[in-house]
Amino acid sequence: MSDPDRRLTRRDFLRLGVLAPALPPLLSGALSACFKREKENAVNFFNWSAYIGKDTLPAFSRETGIKVNYDVYADEEEMFAKLRSGALGYDLIVPTDYLVPRLKAAMLIAPIPMEGLKNLHNIDKRFLHTPFDPQQEISVPYLWGTTGIGYNKKLVSKPPTSWRALWDEKYQGRICVLDSARECIGISLLLNGCDENTTSEKDFEAAKALLLKQKPLVKQYTSTTYVDSLVAGEAALAMAYSGDVLQAIKENPHLDYIIPQEGSFLWMDCLCLMRGAPHPEQALQLIDYLLRPEVSADISNTVRYGTPNASARSQIEPTLRHDPRCYPPSSVMSRLRYHTPPDSEAYSLWNETWSDVKAL
């Protein structure tokens, strides 16, 4: 009964036999292509998804003749896991502030020869010599943003002003929360009045209890799909990153974004050079290109995150430049701070706490 099948298999084997002689040249071709990638006039750029201007990289290639091999990631911890497990060959990555010291400790990034960057002076002094890179030797600011609450105006009775809105039982099943130990535990510690530098188990237990109280209301822990949920009306409120919501507001004016009154976090995504980068010179050229005022302004106009480039500010679209949701006034800025880069022990506490919140 299974005879027809058997004949088919045999025929397939014959077909394979015909193809087999063609395999070695194909394989060697592919292999040599892999090795050639190292020597070509190119730069291997590993960036957040949807985090660059539409014509930024093609324009760079047209001007310099350097090809950009562009890969993206949607989750930074996954990016870190990938790099740590040996995904080599990248020149340039875009980690967030708190990750920079960890990448440095893991010997994954190298000091950047800053003297080679003639456009570095464009960067606002406020964004240099930050807690995560006091010597300004290993990172170059790229874009910054804030963590706050995005919401669908049609689905909330009154605009949220406090983080407590994300604990409001009225919105049960319609709240999205970022899948991020850093943001969630950071905000819980803030609401509990604890110092973010704490390594006290008691503080983490309290933070965990607060998050577990929220859990029955949460629709999803997600860092990537919450904007879609807000747009579709599946979620009313979401813990959100400023630019993600501001991008969606352009098409969906019924969305809005606020920075809660209790204060929040700002963060800086930085350009970092990989240790052992195959094309360090081209990478440096690309960094310098991204520091040009007109390039930086175009990126900020596209992705709706803030540019740390002071000289670019005059070229930001006026509506965006004056939008307090993207560039908050100094009264709000004073309530924002960077996440403290955790040491190894604190890092374990943060991660185990967040892992348990999700699992329990």
């Binding site: 009964m1 130990a181 599946e234 991660n351 892992s355 699992a359």
Partner: protein, 276 residues
């Protein structure tokens, strides 16, 4: 013949599982780096009672999905083997087609079907069963549906293979001896298909126990499974040691199950295998 098979087993099963097991006994150093110091800590953490609810939830979802696969898959396999006739090959291909699409595409289409603006919500409104749009996402049923959708072929194919092996003369003999259609099925066909049922149940239950995509896309924070917990250790929190310990425990649990089945088999509970 044994040597290539053993090499295959060594390279693709024993080495990966052994390295997971070893990793589970190492100490986690700074920021998730691996320190080659022996410790029981990871296994002790993995066996903490606080993870019991998530383990039980996983077993119950995987068990329900397997049962549903069996209930849906058996009639299908029976139809393919006994009734489909000439079009059988076509049906087998149709069965495999969902398998060729990327699982992410399949999951997104389920999100569209089950969502607030989705097909089911519209259908129920049209029928007057619900008055305003409802979302079916984020429920245990949605997660189990995802599991059944993905693993149904794993159930049907071994069932089909087992049913194919049954000599049709046995069924005819049963009829000759006065058994009705149902009785012939109950006393002859079904017992003879038991090896296929067993293989199908194992092939469905085992991957269901480790699945995380279904819960990730169709579930809510309240349908979190062991697969999600393990994935989280490897990709998000850089705790490969704890993830390895959890994985090893699941593998141990499944091996125990398979071993128990082997014992039953030795005792001849599943006769009919190898008779032809």
């Amino acid at each position: 013949m044994l040597a290539p098979a053993s090499l295959w087993l060594l390279a693709f099963l024993i080495l990966p599982v052994a390295s997971l097991l070893i990793l589970g006994f190492t100490h986690r150093g700074a920021f998730g780096a691996c320190e080659w110091v022996f410790t029981w800590d990871n296994f002790r953490r993995a066996m903490d009672v606080k993870y019991l609810p998530i383990m039980l939830r996983t077993v119950s979802y995987a068990g329900t999905a397997t049962l549903l696969c069996l209930l849906l898959g058996y009639p299908l396999a029976y139809f393919l083997s006994f009734q489909a006739g000439k079009r059988r090959d076509l049906f087998l291909v149709l069965l495999m087609i969902p398998f060729w699409t990327s699982c992410l595409v399949a999951l997104y289409s389920w999100i569209i079907i089950l969502g607030r603006e989705g097909l089911i919500s519209h259908l129920l409104m049209r029928l007057g069963i619900i008055s305003k749009p409802a979302s079916f996402l984020g429920t245990p049923a949605a997660v189990i549906l995802g599991l059944v959708y993905f693993y149904l072929p794993f159930m049907v194919l071994p069932l089909y293979a087992a049913l194919e092996k049954i000599p049709r003369t046995y069924v005819e003999a049963a009829h000759d001896l006065g058994a009705g259609k149902f009785e012939a099925f109950r006393k002859v066909t079904f017992p003879l298909s038991m090896p296929g049922v067993m293989a199908g149940v194992i092939l469905t239950f085992v991957p269901c126990m480790g699945d995380f995509l279904s819960a990730d896309f169709l579930g809510s924070p309240r349908t979190y499974l062991v697969g999600n917990l393990i994935q989280n250790q490897f990709l998000m929190v850089q705790d490969w040691q704890f993830g390895s310990a959890l994985t090893s425990l699941i593998v141990l649990f499944l091996i125990t199950g398979l071993w128990a089945r082997h014992i039953f088999e030795e005792q001849g509970v599943f006769e009919g295998e190898g008779e032809e």
